[in-house]
């Protein structure tokens, strides 16, 4: 066993941490959060230049990483900085699906993605699907070379910032069958979007679909996208638990600093044992979270059963620990943590709202139980 990062990943971590500390400070981030765009094109270009985007793709797909630990290292740093740019949507969701299912032409897009010139989003979740990966009511019907897609997609994150959106639709089977789900690569010019912000940053849109696309928009086999979706979701969960871990590190650091410096009753509040023990519990749980991320990342390339077991375990644990750390950090700060401009506010929202993507604490508890049976 070896729990050390490789030298390359260590370098990537150092470079990214330094970059974000210098270029993505709280003031910059608060400006981005308040902007209509909801992201910074400049930061995006610099991330591409630094090789952060390409580290999320395998050599075969034109990158130099793409494995579980590459994802974990990068997203932990993004989480520490509370980054809201659509790296998840572009590189993990969209990028993984194109890499897994794309033909030569479609895979050609990855070069522009890695270069920072193109962004992607995935429209999969629907108003009634909640967190069920195989529940797709949106329909695709092919007539000759034309495919008509009808249905509704919910909270499509990053779509307003994307050039292409990958839309899932059912071509056969019952509403929650794994078989029968297809994917289509749709240009945003074909989509009617009404962007709105999310409470933890970034932008999304609802999609009311009644569109026609040509057959060459199809990504992967007819009705056979589920496996790639499941792999992509496992990658997304790994990225997200790592991101949440990073955010929890920031929340914990801020709280420790506050306990040391805030004085009430004539002494730093960190000298009160009631708060000391709670801080100790936060740190204990933070290490549990770190272990969960290592598990998810380390088994990401393993057999899908093992992979999904670790992914669900991590997501469930992160949901529980995340709530503890977000709530305790705010409570031990007191009023100051309730203000929008203080760094912790955004970080606590990132931690908490992570539980609303890719399945929440309860959903993954159920998945884990099913896989354990």
């Amino acid at each position: 066993m070896n729990f050390e990062l490789t030298e390359e990943r260590q370098m990537l971590q150092d470079t990214l941490r330094r970059f974000l500390r210098e270029k993505y400070d709280v003031e910059t981030r608060n400006k981005i959060l308040a902007s209509d765009e909801g992201m910074s094109a400049e930061i995006w270009a610099q991330m591409a230049e630094l090789g952060v985007l390409s580290a999320l793709f395998s050599e075969e797909d034109g990158g130099f990483g793409g494995a579980g630990f590459d994802i974990a290292v990068i997203f932990e740093e993004l989480g520490r900085a509370g980054m809201v740019e659509p790296v998840m949507e572009t590189c993990i969701l969209g990028g993984s699906l194109i890499a897994a299912l794309g033909n030569e032409t479609q895979k050609g897009l990855l070069e522009t993605v890695i270069g920072g010139e193109m962004r992607l989003a995935v429209a999969h979740t629907e108003p009634r699907s909640r967190y069920d990966l195989s529940r797709v009511e949106t329909k695709a019907e092919a007539t000759g070379d034309t495919i008509r897609i009808t249905g509704q997609k919910a909270v499509v994150q990053g779509a307003p910032l994307a050039d292409h959106v990958i839309v899932s639709a059912r071509e056969s089977g019952a509403v929650d069958d794994q078989d029968g789900i297809s994917l289509f690569l749709v240009s945003v010019s074909d989509l009617d979007m009404r962007p709105y912000p999310m409470i933890d940053g970034g932008v999304a849109t609802e999609l009311m679909l009644d569109i026609e696309v040509s057959a060459d928009a199809r990504l992967g086999p007819v009705g056979g996208a589920y496996e790639a979706l499941a792999t992509t979701w496992a990658r997304a969960i790994t990225a997200q638990v790592a991101e949440t871990l990073g955010a929890m590190e920031t929340a914990t650091d801020l709280t420790i600093e506050y306990l040391k410096t805030r004085t009430q009753f004539g002494r730093p509040i960190g000298t009160f044992q009631a708060l000391q023990h709670r801080m100790a519990d936060m740190l204990i749980e933070l290490e549990q979270a770190r272990a969960a991320v290592i598990g998810a990342a380390g088994y990401l390339e393993a057999d899908p059963k093992l992979r999904d077991r670790y992914a669900s375990a991590a997501k469930n644990l992160m949901g529980r620990v995340g709530r503890l750390i977000a709530e305790e950090s705010i409570q031990m700060h007191g009023g100051i943590a309730m203000t929008q401009e203080y760094e912790l506010a955004h970080i606590a929202k990132r931690i908490t709202m992570a539980d609303h993507r890719f399945g929440d604490t309860d959903h993954h508890l159920e998945q884990f139980i099913k896989m354990s049976a």
């Binding site: 979740t125 108003p127 009634r128 909640r130 967190y131 069920d132 529940r135 919910a154 909270v155 994150q157 509403v175 929650d176 009404r194 709105y196 912000p197 999310m198 409470i199 933890d200 999304a204 609802e206 004085t263 009430q264 009753f265 004539g266 009631a274 708060l275 709530r323 709530e327 705010i330 409570q331 007191g334 009023g335 943590a337 309730m338 203000t339 929008q340 401009e341 506010a345 955004h346 606590a348 929202k349 908490t352 709202m353 539980d355 609303h356 993507r357 929440d360 309860d362 959903h363 508890l365 159920e366």
Partner: protein
Amino acid sequence: MDLSYTDTEKAFRAEVQAFMRDELPDHMAEKVRKGRGLTKADMEDWHARLNAKGWLAQNWPKAFGGAEWNAVQRHIYEEEACLANAPRIVPFGLSMLGPVLQKFGSKEQQDHWLPRILDGSDWWCQGYSEPGAGSDLASLKTKAVRDGDHYIVNGQKTWTTLGQHANMIFCLVRTDPDAKQQEGISFLLIDMDTPGIEVRPIVLLDGSVEVNEVWFTDVRVPVENLVGEENKGWTYAKYLLTHERANIAGVGFSNAGLEAVKRMARAEMAGGRPLIENPHFAARLAQAEIDLSAMSLSNLRIVSMTAAGGAPGLEASMLKVKGSVIRQEINDLARRACGPYALPFPSEEVDGTNMPPIGPDYAGKVAGEYFNHRKISIYGGSNEVQRNIIAKTTLAGGAR
């Protein structure tokens, strides 16, 4: 023991229900239900309707124009008002300053200020906390120096709720810097239009603007605006805090919140079934309901005791801790129930009437409210302060 309400109490409940039916405007209830901000005009309108009925100053003696309700009546009102999605009564004049003036104010102060609270001439806010004086309120530094017929006030208050609407502020100020902390504090009434006062809004983490910083630079306050005696303000402040603790458990809010979560969980689908049938969610919901049900009974027990003339001591601190934790748990359930639709956070103009709603209409407020309500365990004496009170009173050999 008898856990049922008396006939008089039942009749009173029916009267409150009828009032809500007849007097609460739909647009106001709709705003409260969806968690939209109420305007100053909305709140003033609601106060006026209650005042017309004689129900605005519920805890004031009749001699001062109050309803003189007992604790059970106030509890019943609170329950019905929450279920009807009525705006809450703005407490600063009515629940906080009013009782202080009635007990410690001069006849002139009572005659002048109390009617103005009832008819809405004055909107009061509270100048207690400071950046360096939160849980440790007695360490406050805003100072008032006597200069002839005036005090000259310098300093800063913070977390001043709805201070942006207020024309008056009651403040704790230090008048004797050499005395022991609690002994050099006075209670001043200050006109917000006085030169040298600046109100700066604080945007909270859910984007709402409900609290403010209030800055004082050489603000001249007439000496007749001193309540009671100089340097006795801490006594009045503590008296006020016991009134701030009325309805401290928030049972009405929790009951209404739990009903709302149930409605959401019936509408939301998980795995092709209503969420309310999902065993994990149902277990969370049931546990919250069990806790709330026990806490409601404790609350009623303490309320009855108060109605009979007893004074809640430690129990108030216990209700504050348990009540806030349960209310926050219900906010957490609402957030969970909405799944991915808890994420959207459109501004009000995007979410206006001419746009289709983003997800179900109940989902818009759940995340914001979850974050905003973290304040419940922080304000009014944080839960840590309440636990200190419980522990100190018990372990220091004090009477239980």
